[in-house]
Structure formats: structure tokens, C-alpha cells
Symmetry: C2
Subunit: 374 residues, 2 copies
């Protein structure tokens, strides 16, 4: 869970970017969470609505949420919580998103009558909610939030560690259950169950579950594909747990791997180590990519590595920095990144492995501890 101190620090940091503004209006659920700890889960009715976080020029912070989200407001680190009734079980409910814009209108009338300069999430704020702001211009919070999100605070790191620990349970379940004759979907179900149990709460499970011929095509969601003896299967698990993502991968073999398969994995292990060796503040994303690619190319598999060497990790997926050939983004302390070398051969199969890392002042700390290897 995000802490009071963390939320306050992030709100202050955001306000540094908007010192002349008398209202910052946040509408994206992940950003309301980032700045207040108020989490609306897509597995609950709270996650289907539209809520708002309002920060005034003095830093006073108000959460506006509908009554389906009331239970979740208990964990909101804000100065005021305003609950409006969307559905009272007595009268028909109005369209939920439109009603949220009307609730915002009433709140603005009551508490923010004289606005001069406001900033909003232009790429998210619905038109109906924009229209109730009695100002000509609305600046964009988006770039500042995107920039801020790279440097993770301590409470965010605690969330990410918790998400990774749950995802590690998923990899253990994959290792325990893989065998010839099982389907990708069966393994997905086992992995999802293990992660849900480890997380202790319902989650939205995203990931690649691709076996046999499908493993040679990078990834994809699980299908009814039945594993054959000797098939490789890629498990790339990127669930969102408690608001943050883990993103860790491994490849397993249904049965005894061949020497060729072991050699293939060894190339990826070397690529992972080569990437790790570059991780420190000041290095460019392109340098990390080049280092991670080198062992794969040296093994003659350069054409079999079609994707990034990794990417930033946090509230979204993927996010900056992008570890790709044309990126001049510079790694900085507080970045959390993945490294995920992979190599895929059509008709033969493919593999990917992945760890998550915190960039520190002096180098890096590996955050994930699942067992890598077939």
C-alpha cells in the first residue's frame, strides 16, 4: 500500500510543476492511486466508475468518489473525501460516467468557485468533465506525471516488491505443473491461482503463455494448445497487483530439454548478464540494448531477437525508459526496469527470460528471484 508520506511527497513534487495553478484535477485511476493511495480495482464495482482527485493551490487534497467506491476510500490519504450517490437501490441509476461529471460540477460549485488556472489529464479527462470547469484553458498534467513516475519512491518500491513476490509464486507453479499433455490454458489457470493466492486478492492476470510452435512467435495469451514432449513454453507474467506491475519471465521445457535447447537458454543467460553489467545511472537505454543484444547476435541469433531488451516498470506496462536501439533516454537512480532477452525460431521454438531491477546510485539491485532456466 502507498503511504501517507509517499503520497504527500508526490503531490508536492507534482505541484512544483504547477506553482501558478489553483487546481490540479486528476482523473486516471492509476494516477489518483499514485497521489492518494485510493485504489479502484478492475475486479470490483469501484473500478468501473469515474472518480476525481483535486489538489488546490495550497496543496489541500480532495477525493470525489461514487458510493460504489466508498469502501476503498478508507485507504485514501487525502484531506477530504466527498462521496456522491450514483446508485441508491431505490431509484434507477443514471449513466455512471455522465453522472460523475455532474457530481464534479456540484463539487466545483461548492468548493472551487473561483478558478483561474487549472491543469488536467488532457489525454484522459472526459469531455463532459472538462465542460464543467469554468475556465478557458486547461493545461496538461500528463507530461509531468509521466516524468515523475520514473523515479520510484520507497512506498512504490514496496508495492513493486510485493507484486514481484506474487509473480514469483506463479513461476514456481509453472515449474511444478508443466508436463507433456497439459494445455497452455491449464498452465495459465495454475499460474493465475498461485499468483492470486500469493497476492491475497483478486488480480487481473496478463502474460504470455506460448508453447511449442507458438513459443517461436514471441508470445501471446494462452490457448488450448497441448504441450508435446520437449516443447519449450514461455511464461512471461506481468500481472498488476495492488496497483503495480511485476514483469518477470522464464522458459520451461515439457520433459527433458535437448542440448540445443540448453544452449539456446545459455545465450539468453549471457545476454541477461551483459545487460545487467551496464545498469547504472548515466548509461543510455541504447547502450543497455546494445550490450544485451551482443551475445545473442554473436550466437548467430540476431535476427531471432525482434523486441526491446527491456523497459520501465511501474503503474503501467510498458513504460519509460524503453531499452531499444534508438533510445537516448538516460538511466537514473530510482528507475525500475526489466531486462528480457529472447530468441525465437519459427518452427523450432523460442525462449525468453526476464528479471526486474532497481537502478541505484551506484549500479543496480535485482528485485526478482524466480528460478531462471528450462
Amino acid at each position: 500500500m502507498l503511504t501517507v508520506d509517499g503520497c504527500l511527497a508526490r503531490r508536492r513534487a507534482l505541484q512544483e510543476h504547477f506553482q501558478e495553478h489553483d487546481l490540479l484535477l486528476i482523473s486516471q485511476p492509476q494516477h489518483i492511486f499514485y497521489l492518494s493511495g485510493f485504489l479502484t480495482r478492475p475486479t470490483e464495482l469501484a473500478g468501473q466508475g469515474l472518480n476525481f482527485l483535486l489538489i488546490d493551490g495550497a496543496g489541500e487534497c480532495r477525493l470525489l468518489a461514487d458510493n460504489m467506491s466508498e469502501a476503498a476510500t478508507q485507504h485514501a490519504h487525502v484531506d477530504h473525501v466527498d462521496i456522491w450517490t450514483w446508485y441508491d437501490s431505490m431509484h434507477p441509476a443514471e449513466a455512471r460516467l455522465a453522472a460523475a461529471a455532474e457530481a464534479l460540477s456540484r463539487l466545483l460549485y461548492n468548493h472551487y468557485a473561483k478558478l483561474a488556472q487549472v491543469a488536467v489529464e488532457r489525454a484522459h479527462l472526459p469531455l463532459a468533465a472538462r465542460e464543467v470547469l469554468a475556465v478557458a484553458q486547461a493545461d496538461d498534467l500528463g507530461p509531468a506525471l509521466r516524468q515523475m513516475r520514473r523515479r520510484k519512491y520507497e512506498d512504490e518500491l514496496a508495492c513493486i516488491r510485493r507484486a514481484i513476490a506474487a509473480a514469483e509464486a506463479g513461476h514456481q507453479a509453472a515449474r511444478t505443473n508443466i508436463r507433456a499433455g497439459i494445455t497452455e490454458m491449464d498452465l495459465y489457470v495454475e499460474v493465475q491461482a498461485a499468483i492470486t493466492r500469493a497476492a491475497g486478492e483478486p488480480i487481473v492476470m496478463m502474460g504470455d503463455f506460448a508453447a511449442g510452435e507458438r513459443s517461436g512467435r514471441v508470445g501471446g495469451p494462452p490457448t488450448d494448445n497441448v504441450l508435446q514432449p520437449g516443447d519449450l513454453m514461455i511464461f512471461d507474467l506481468f500481472p498488476r497487483i495492488g496497483g503495480y506491475r511485476a514483469d518477470i519471465a522464464n522458459t520451461l521445457c515439457a520433459g527433458q530439454p535437448t542440448q540445443e535447447q540448453r544452449d539456446h537458454l545459455a545465450v539468453l543467460q549471457a545476454a541477461l548478464q551483459a545487460g545487467e553489467a551496464t545498469l547504472r545511472p548515466g548509461v543510455t537505454a541504447a547502450e543497455v540494448y546494445a550490450a544485451g543484444r551482443e551475445p545473442i547476435a554473436a550466437a548467430g541469433l540476431g535476427d531471432a531477437f525482434p523486441h526491446h531488451a527491456g523497459h520501465g516498470l511501474g503503474l503501467g506496462h510498458p513504460e519509460p525508459p524503453f531499452l531499444v536501439p534508438e533510445s537516448q533516454e538516460i538511466l537514473q537512480a530510482g528507475d525500475v526496469v526489466t531486462l528480457e532477452p529472447g530468441a525465437y525460431r519459427r518452427g523450432w521454438g523460442g525462449a525468453r527470460i526476464e528479471h526486474n531491477y532497481l537502478i541505484t546510485e551506484t549500479g543496480y539491485q535485482r528485485l526478482s528471484n524466480h528460478q531462471i532456466g528450462l
Copy 2:
């Protein structure tokens, strides 16, 4: 899956409401799906972006989607698909939602240069996307879509039946696995696994999983609460599967139920039958509510029934008609509704049962077939 014919019929029906308009711009994922069959799942990267459906005055229909969603566009029943590259694995990706608004701007410039009258989803369309429309006014598609959604088309009913069939597998798993000593979370995992297997695809599992003392408080997501012998447990399963929701409930007992518990369930069975007996076109939602409440009140449990008697079901949850005391909504053929009588006694426990129904020209057809009863 939604059919070509169904999507075309719905687009024509929507255009009936906007005959003077030269562009209808749809942005909510569930409405893009409703009108085109293009489904972006929250369990996939496609579900994290912002895509658009554009229908011009002649009915020509264009889907604008980012490259993470390309695979899903294969199932889109549209005249044109335009894919724009959000992330190429070579360069850092821009903020995804903001980039989508820019992609829309380019598309409008190329294909819809002269717009006079447009309609958008005002409660959803992000401000940044609104701003690229070179028109002074934008009318609201929201009310027309909300009205249309009540009368389900044949292809929608097929989707709902499929979702219900998967949810029924969840109830069977609950019945098989319930016992004293297991936790609500363990049962959630079993139910989720059964539904995922039956659906054949990853899903977002929503539902109430409340046992013992918690069952006396209506519901809530699963916890580590350990079931005690004789505990009641409410299973209210409302997953979204293939774009549509099922919503079916039952209550089970961990061990042998008492006569008092059986009597409690019998009251709810009577309430369900009383509600069913009213289901036909022309009846008001309030009448259905009153009929469903009567047996509960007659048993002295009127105060133990705090919620609606049911509600509409489809792309969202809950949705019109709302079967509540103050609703004058009139049932019509093509409505799909739930009936869900419940009674909850603090400190003793509670129960809820629920079926789904299609309102037909002459009455109703029950859509769900799970076993009701402790």
C-alpha cells in the same frame, strides 16, 4: 462473438438517432465492441490503449487502433482498419493515450476533412481527442447508446448465453469444493479456474465471495476468512466473458445446513418465483420489485432485504432496467435481467440466489441453469 449482421444492424439503429450527422465517433471499448465486434481485453495489452470507431454519414465504418491491438482487429466487422504504430521496439514510445489523440488527428485530416455535425461519447471521449475535431459543437452519443443497449440482438444473446454457461461452471466448482476449513480466497481461486477453463480464455473475475459472518453483510470480495462448519457462503458471480456479463448467484453451506437455514433459502426461492411470475413486457420495474419483495417481507425479513430485486445485464453491470421500488422503467421484449432475492441477518448469516432472464414477447425465458440451493 458478435456477428457482421448484428454489428451492421446496431450501427444502422444508432444512425437513426443521428441522421444529420456526418461523423459518429465512438471511444468506449465496450461500445466499439458493440458496434464492430472489435474486443480489447483488459487481460491483454490491447486493452490498455485508446482506440476509435468512426461512422460517417453514409454508414461507412472505420476502426483506428494502435499496433498493440492489431491482432484483435482481425475480428472487427468494419469497412476499413487503420493501424497506427504506438511502439515499434526501436524508439521510445510516447504516452499511449496522448499519442492516440494525435493518431485520430491525422486520420481526421486524411479522411474526414469537412465535418459539420459530429456526435461523440461526451462522458468518455478524452479532452485531447475532442480537441482534434474541427467543429464547434459535438453532440452526445451516450443516451442513444444507453437506450439501444437494452434490447439485445441475437448475437448479443449468444454472447450472454456463453458467459452464463461459463459462470455456471463456476457454481459447480463452488459446490464441489466448499467445506469447513477452506478459505473464501481458496474458493474464489477454484471458481475462477473453472470459469476460465469453461470460457477458454483469460477473464476478469468479479463477484461476491462472503462466508459466515460476512454473508450477513450482503457480500464483498474474497478474504482469508476460514469457513466454519455450518457457515453459509454467498457466491455471486458476475464475470465479463467475451465482452458480456453473466450474473448468477447461489448460497452454499459448509456442511449440513440447519432447518433454519433451509427455511431461509425457501423464502428466497419463493421470492424468485414471485418475481419470475411478473416478468413480461409492459410491467414496471417497481412491480417486479414489489412482487419479489413480498415473500421476504411476509417471512418477517423485510428489513433484511436491503438491495434491488435485480437489474439489467449486458455490456455493463448493473444497467437498466433497475428493479427497484422507485423505478417506472417498463420491461420490454429483448431486455435481459437478473432476479436476485437476498436476506441478510447480522451475526447469523445471509443468503442470495439469482437467475438471468430474457424478456420475450409473451413472458420470459430463463437463461441460467445452475443448481440453486444450499
